[in-house]
Symmetry: C2
DNA sequence: TCAAAAATGTTCTATTCGGTACATTTGGTC
DNA sequence: GACCAAATGTACCGAATAGAACATTTTTGA
């Protein structure tokens, strides 16, 4: 039994409350999707109440949009730490691909948020200038590597950094996004540690192959 | 005004009704996801009523599972039409990759069903032996090409057909699944027809590069 | 020909869920 | 130290939604 006099006291902490909500929201939306996620569930896993979700984020969609942005922010921060300027171009590209591959593996919630956003035709991402800027920065980094490689004659001319980024993303993203169906159909072996190293190497190889100044059989 | 005596007459057609429901269900689930799709919406786009959905499929999950299966069936049928046995291995692999790339582009609903199933950790796919069998067949086809290529010495030893299939799928799948976010961030140019041809060629090149018996720079 | 089974239509309901109304506390500021 | 805005808590509501109940028609087969 509680005492008659209820203690409803707290200390105000807007930033902490917002962050708490956002981090719970990311994991909930990532787990269940936009329509699958329940505001009540998110609220219950928070240190605060549903009231505050609506207070700070307006409605479910507002929360989702901010969670998506937060997920991008967190993951791009990790990428920004990578500095490849001092490496020769081929080595830099190798490192970039391997890093991206691993980084995606380590951020499944981010991958799932992007999957969900794609299901919704990127309607909520479209309005976020923040996200666009972050990604343009990622391309700039890759473009610099390409240019250096072309200057010293190890990369072919006419390389398209965006197309290269597409390919790096495709492998790294698919490896996480489609793991459930792929395992269900072909078994989980490909996702064990040693097999993942092979796959990662295969990815690096295939991307270097299109970047490097060497004959490709299909161009014959 | 209607007459007092309502005419509620119909002709029975179970198969047509089931098919009608399934095809509507595929497009609805593909568009809105498992929890986002509304049974009432599906029903309203059908020539029949909600009653029949529950009559034939039990509940929403039952409908979803059958729709997923139907989506796989349809797409794998398209693939089965492709016969590459008469082609030399390198040519066969080239055709297989290019075909897969285009086939995925032309079946966005299937891609979206698989995306959604991945969001749900492939829980519903896991129980379907049908789907597993279809996909194993797809691998067998690829494995045959690999073997022939190794026999005549144009493909490297130790090729893993599943790993190769992983790579082909990654590019072809990502190209459709992540088009919304990718376009939102980097612009839609990459998805215009001529750019898609370049991307497809790049995909073919990169896969041939890992399959062929040639030195890869990273192995030096 | 008629009874039983299969197929279909119509209407209603329990519940879940996003969102709101109302009440209270905290903290800054003059 | 009193007032006010910001921050938080509690209890509630209306709409949407999956599914069930009830009713009718069609088909089959003995």
């Amino acid at each position: 039994m509680k005492t008659d006099i209820e203690r409803r006291s707290w200390t105000q902490n807007p930033e902490a409350v917002k962050q708490d909500i956002l981090s719970v929201a990311i994991s909930e939306f990532a787990a269940a999707g936009l329509s699958g996620a329940r505001v009540d569930t998110i609220a219950s896993r928070t240190r605060t109440s549903k009231r505050m979700i609506y207070y700070y984020f307006g409605d479910k969609l507002g929360l989702y949009t901010r969670a998506l942005e937060a997920a991008y922010l967190k993951v791009r921060e990790g990428e920004a730490a990578l500095n490849l300027d001092h490496l020769p171009p081929r080595e830099a590209l190798t490192r970039l691909v391997a890093f991206t591959f691993e980084h995606h593996r380590q951020n499944p919630d981010f991958i799932r948020m992007v999957m969900i956003e794609n299901i919704h035709n990127a309607e909520h991402l479209a309005s976020s200038q923040v996200i666009r800027d972050m990604n343009i920065a990622a391309i700039d980094k890759l473009a610099a590597i390409c240019r250096r490689g072309q200057e010293i004659g190890v990369f072919r001319d006419g390389l398209d950094p965006v197309a290269l980024h597409w390919q790096i993303s495709a492998a790294s993203f698919f490896n996480v996004s489609n793991r459930p169906t792929f395992s269900a159909i072909f078994g989980a072996e490909l996702f064990e540690e040693d097999a993942q190293e092979r796959i990662r190497q295969q990815t690096v190889d295939s991307i270097l192959a299109v970047a490097e100044l060497r004959p490709l059989s299909s161009s014959e």
